[in-house]
Amino acid sequence: MRTKTNAGIPLEPERYELRAAAPYRFDLDRRDFFKFLGAGVVVVSVLKPAIVAQESGGGRQRRGESLPQQIDAWLHLGENGKVTAYSGKVEVGQNIRTSLSQAVAEELRVPIDRIEMVMGDTQLTPFDMGTFGSRTTPTMNPQLRKAAAATREVLMGLAASQWKTDPQQLVASDGKIVDPKSNHSIQYAVLLKGQQITQSISADQPLTPATEWKVAGQPALKVDGRDFVTGKHRYPSDQKLPNMLYGKVLRQPSFNATLVSADTKTAEQMGATVVLDGNFVGVAAPSTQAAEAAIAAIHAEWKSEPQISNKELFDFLRKDATQGKDPSGDGDHYETGSVDQAMSSADHRLQQTYTVSYIAHVPLEPRAALANWDGDQLTVWTGTQRPFGVRGQLVEAFHLPEEKVRVLMPDTGSGYGGKHTGETAIEAARLARAAKRPVKVVWTREEEFSWAYFRPAGVIDVVSGVRGDGTITAWEFHNYNSGSAGIRTYYEVPNQRIVFHEVHSPLRQGSYRALAATANHFARESHMDELAHALKMDSLEFRLKNLKNERLRAVFEAAAKQFGWGKSKSPGQGFGMGGGYEKLGNIATFAEVNVDSKSGDVRVMRVVSGFECGAIVNPDNLRNQIEGSNVQGLGGALFEVIEFENGKILNGRLSQYRVPRFSDLPALETVLLDRKDIPSVGAGECPMIGLAPAIANAIFDATGVRLRALPLVPNGLKAS
């Protein structure tokens, strides 16, 4: 399944993310804009180039005409000089509030602090499918830049007609239009006094080339950083309304349990609002403590079926996929050449199996929502990567028309792909409707561990055939359950069979930063190392021999140089690499590990990342994202694993589930390749994918032990 976006970039065929609702039909009259925003100029960004051409053909629109649908962003420059950009994207720590502000500042030629970004509010911002898949930089960023550039041109046109001069000779700078010939100069705000102009961007709106960027392409500090270091920013879990109650939900004793009976009398006598509705049992009370006490006072009986444990997981995944299902039926299937023939005529064949466990996102802010009903109008503040998706869930849960539901997303305490759903929004809204008061639901860490969803576990079988000279001739790759992101190989292999097998997952699973690309790259890049070893070839040389993609070669070569690939090592030390291509970015990761032969302790000492994502928008934030990917990636590579048994999570607390800490930190070095000739793409995910195989390969280099399961060393090397 593939969908095309306006930029012509294929959206990753990732089944866990394609739960988009029908695009919002935006139907706002242009006069509403000015009633709401005040006079000035509004430039809208439209998704469909065909519509853009139609709508912008006649230049400015006539008064009263409704604006085009399928808007994905708009920008307002007020007669007070204030710039407000509206986007349905959300901020979860990837710093797009800053990078999008930079984009607007660049094209509009105004200081960055004059820009306000309104994001992720289903009432104020245009429909957006969600903030995931590293889509913001390649799609939203150019759209907003175009809107800002078009706004600048409107201003130049206004100034030119005022001065009766050619707009071509005017210059925009620091919030003013300047005529260098006559030395005329006028503030944007003065030009816009009393104006009500609307315009759509044209598909071929010229943009400032990356080589001439002054604001974009430069390091920029988090635009509202001060609110975060002072504790002033209100995250979803910090939201409060007068008369607000605190909600709690009675959790099932195991997954998929159904409620048989519940005695809620005591809870009601305690003064709590109690809701018993199907499988939902919840309370609302004036404090979290009172709500917890009321929940504890409910006696409920549940019925559940026996469920598998993580010990049987990998057998189950393979068995479930092959029983009663065409293995190639539901998943992606890619085939070229003649794999079976090439495999039988290869000089060497290698067959190996790799596995990845379920892991948890552990966003430091757990899911949270505050819901408020005003008659039949529902407003919910919640932390989600898909505010419009959550609106859809609320519409469905409460049988409401779309316009009756507003979802707002205050900048949230991270997501990593783990906050695509609206559990707390629905819970809070259900309780608020019963209580007739605003209700806030904040999940505990234990609830977040058990009742959110996990990165999918998976089994990956790889069979390869190579010639004695190191040329790969055949490649067969089967991924069971973990997903198809990054499943295709970028090495040149004439005969390939690549299959994704869908499985009914025993645990609730979903999107996770970099999706299955981590698993697929782990398998592929480990396997490449195993082949190089079998052929007695250098790992880098073997990769480059089979790699034509210039951008990927460039990051491998740059990172190898920085790392000092080929240098000698001391006992216990090991070097390894892994890399690849994902979400249009290119990464090569080199790792140095140290293995204590007595204790079996594995320490990652140094990580060098070579990364290229087109023209760099904000180099400082890019480094921050790459470092963060590596630090977070350490957990899934080394020790993070969800243990479960019979429908229960066994290690669902932070004291039982280890996440990377300061003391796990390796020396991190980043080599950035800035390709100003290539459009910018996102960087929140790709940098993560090379780390796990680089570490596994380095452990092999240090010890001769080949580890083919993620996490690699949850209990150190000896015990694993």
């Binding site: 430091l364 991270s414 860490r445 630090v631 800490r661």
Partner: protein, 163 residues
């Protein structure tokens, strides 16, 4: 239920609650001081860190009754008017945050560390801060921010000594 007297950020509060209630709950629910965050509820992540008589403490596992009468400082009490504390300023300057949900706790821990040790070595920073989790993985920047704050504070300390 009893009235507990608290001194928070140089202000006095009387809170009617069970002394066993966590300090974090009192800060967030009773006093609307939401800068201190809930992350785990068992003292494992440090997002709720506050200073009790100058020492870093996890407010989620601190009973409010145990801190009556002590000097409590939260992230909201760190800046003096518009002037940020040097540690806050250093976190800004190093851009030592992504989602920033851990930032208050990180800053409070770092303030406690620098009060105890004005010029910590990198290893000392890592050891002291190891109980604070940043899930976005900004640890390298946080270490740099703490080093920067230590440097920024150093002249002030030296001046104080010379006087």
């Amino acid at each position: 239920m009893s009235t507990i007297h608290l001194a928070i950020n140089e202000k006095s509060y009387g809170v009617d609650t069970d002394p066993k209630t966590s300090l974090l709950t009192v800060l967030r629910e009773h006093l609307d001081l939401t800068g201190s965050k809930y992350g785990c509820g068992e003292g494992q992540c440090g997002a709720c860190t506050v200073l009790i008589d100058g020492k870093a403490q996890r407010s989620c596992i601190t009973r409010v009754g145990s801190v009556a009468g002590k000097q409590i400082t939260t992230i909201e009490g760190l800046a003096k008017g518009d002037r940020l504390h040097p540690v806050q300023q250093a976190f800004l300057d190093e851009d030592a945050m992504q989602c920033a949900y851990c930032t208050s706790g990180m800053i409070m821990s770092a303030v406690a560390l620098l009060q105890k040790n004005a010029g910590p070595a990198e290893k000392e920073i890592i050891d002291f801060m190891d109980g604070n989790v940043c899930r976005c993985g900004t640890y390298p920047r946080i270490v740099r921010a703490i080093q920067r704050a230590a440097k920024a504070q150093a002249p002030a300390v030296a001046k104080g000594v010379s006087r």
